[in-house]
């Protein structure tokens, strides 16, 4: 139960922080505008059958943006604010607390999908039918979990970086392309495929797209397994990396030198 308690502590902490600084949820303001852009492209291009892709893309982009944003700030700010030393003196797993903090924001970030659906309905008069509601819920849950697991790894990787905002910035659009958030991998050049297979977002995007559009969802089990598998792998690496970094900070007595 202790791991769950640690994740829960992270969720409570981040929820309190977000309530005071809602700027962390900036993506909920920008997502509708991205929806407008993609939906206008779909409607103007006469691609009625592809409107679902235009609708889910801002949600997927928001999940990744939130992951990057929180990952870049959570540990770095703790270090800068002198809180990392306090963590070092507790028996709790820092990775799990960080995971809880990221989960708290990611779950709220899911509202971007609802916003996008509303933009399609209200602004463009397009209703995207949900062919497999249960599958959509499963796909959203998998996306949130995989995003949060991956962001936990990024948070560890970013903590010692002096140019974390450079990396944070550089990791947005490449992942949107490789993750097939708008354009499915089948419509991209073949050499992109092997790279995309190791990006969790590509499996989430495929699962979500099929949940909205396909009469039956092909290979849903594989999509779920790969998205979660890649996420769990990232979390495992995050735990090991964080342990290594904390040991290093202890040895060098540099925890407070943010």
């Amino acid at each position: 139960m202790r791991p769950l308690a640690e994740v829960g502590a992270g969720i409570r902490l981040q929820s309190a922080l977000v309530a005071r600084t809602p700027a962390q949820l900036l993506v909920l303001v920008t997502a509708p505008l991205f929806s407008v852009i993609f939906l206008s492209l779909a409607v103007h291009g006469g691609a009625a059958s592809r409107v679902a892709s235009a609708m889910i893309a801002p949600g997927l982009m928001s999940m990744w943006l939130i992951s990057l944003d929180v990952a870049a700030s959570v540990l770095s700010e703790d270090r800068y604010g002198g809180r990392l030393e306090l963590f070092l003196s507790t028996p709790a797993s820092l990775s799990l607390v960080v995971l809880g903090r990221i989960l708290a924001v990611s779950v709220v970030g899911m509202l971007a999908f609802a916003e996008s659906w509303l933009v399609a309905r209200v602004a463009f008069g397009v209703t995207v039918p949900v062919h497999h509601p249960a599958m959509v819920v499963l796909a959203l849950a998998v996306t949130v979990l995989a995003s949060s697991f991956t962001a936990t790894l990024l948070a560890s990787a970013f903590v010692l970086s002096r140019s974390l905002h450079v990396y944070q910035n550089a990791m947005s659009y490449p992942i949107y392309i490789l993750g097939g958030v708008v354009v499915p991998l089948s419509a991209l050049p073949g050499w992109v495929d092997p790279l995309s297979k190791v990006v969790y977002l590509s499996w989430c995007a495929e699962l979500l797209r099929n949940s909205f559009t396909a009469t039956r969802v092909p290979e849903a089990g594989l999509d779920v397994a790969m998205a979660l598998g890649l996420g769990v792998l990232a979390l495992g690496i995050a735990v090991l990396l964080t342990r290594h970094i904390l040991d290093m900070l202890r040895r060098n007595a540099t925890a407070g030198l943010g």
């Binding site: 700027a23 900036l26 303001v29 920008t30 505008l33 991205f34 407008v36 852009i37 993609f38 206008s40 492209l41 779909a42 103007h44 291009g45 006469g46 691609a47 592809r50 892709s53 235009a54 893309a57 140019s163 450079v166 990396y167 910035n169 550089a170 947005s172 659009y173 490449p174 949107y176 392309i177 708008v182 354009v183 499915p184 419509a187 991209l188």
Partner: protein, 268 residues
């Protein structure tokens, strides 16, 4: 006092030196090329691929040109963050008592990003079309390249107005930046023609940066007559002048009100 007055040329020179040094402190050439510039190029690629997926080769090229040009707008608008950063350092009360106006100092705070925007747009417009299979009509397309600085300057003036708002509300500068450029990407002819939108949005697009400059670029690429291109160029310049006047007014007002209320040192 006249002996103390600093010439606008000197202010501009110091601003340029400051801009270069700040860029050097922000990026090495590696992080700039492989982090920042590559990210922007991929942004244009992403939206072009999306346009091609939803439409045709023609819509793909349309979005590619629009998203290449809008990079300059995006980067120029980083002045919003730069102005807020300047105020956060506490220089505004000092500038209010200095022998020169604070307005040109603040207006010059994001010049390096505007220059970077010109470079990014140019690189995207030259490099991406052949790579994405929608080549531009060279050598005619070369005439469109000098229009990029115009779009960047106009966007910069618009960004300065938002930056002035950000000086009073420092907590929402990221919101201002995002809500400043995303509507331009959505409604100003970047991805779909302005005529796609209902008239209220079309009317707003008329006074936004990028709209007319991008029309001029597209007119050049389509081989339109010089008067048609120059008409759009004139409108883009007029829009920029309008935003610049507004920026100067807003920046002056902040100091006047700050002195009157005794809140010049505070961002909020």
């Amino acid at each position: 006092m006249s002996a103390l007055r600093v010439s606008p040329v000197e202010v501009t020179r110091q601003s340029a030196i400051f801009a270069v040094e700040e860029m050097r402190a922000t990026h090495t050439w590696r992080t700039y090329l492989f982090g920042w510039l590559l990210r922007l190029i991929l942004q244009t690629t992403f939206f072009s691929l999306a346009a091609g997926y939803f439409g045709t080769r023609v819509t793909k090229q349309y979005a590619l040109v629009g998203n290449a040009i809008v990079l300059g707008c995006l980067e120029s608008m980083i002045v919003v963050l730069m102005m807020a950063g300047e105020r956060a350092t506490g220089t505004l009360p000092l500038l209010a008592t200095a022998p020169t106006s604070h307005v040109p100092i603040y207006l010059g705070r994001g010049l390096h990003w505007m220059a970077s925007g010109m470079l990014s747009s140019t690189v995207a417009l030259v490099v991406l079309p052949p790579l994405l299979g929608v080549p531009l009509p060279w050598p005619r397309a070369a005439v469109a390249l000098p229009l990029i600085p115009l779009v960047c300057v106009t966007s910069y003036c618009y960004g300065c107005v938002l930056g002035a708002v950000g000086l009073r509300h420092m907590g929402i500068i990221w919101l201002l930046l995002n809500l400043g450029y995303l509507p331009i990407m959505a409604f100003c002819g970047v991805n779909v023609p302005v005529s796609f939108w209902p008239w209220p949005l079309r009317a707003i697009a008329e006074i936004m940066p990028v709209t007319h400059g991008l029309m001029a670029v597209r007119a050049v690429l389509a081989g339109s007559s010089a008067p048609a291109v120059l008409g759009d160029v004139g409108l883009e310049a007029a829009v920029g002048i309008g935003w610049l006047c507004l920026a100067c007014f807003a920046l002056s007002r902040i100091v006047r009100r700050g002195i009157a209320a005794g809140t010049l040192e505070f961002g909020n």
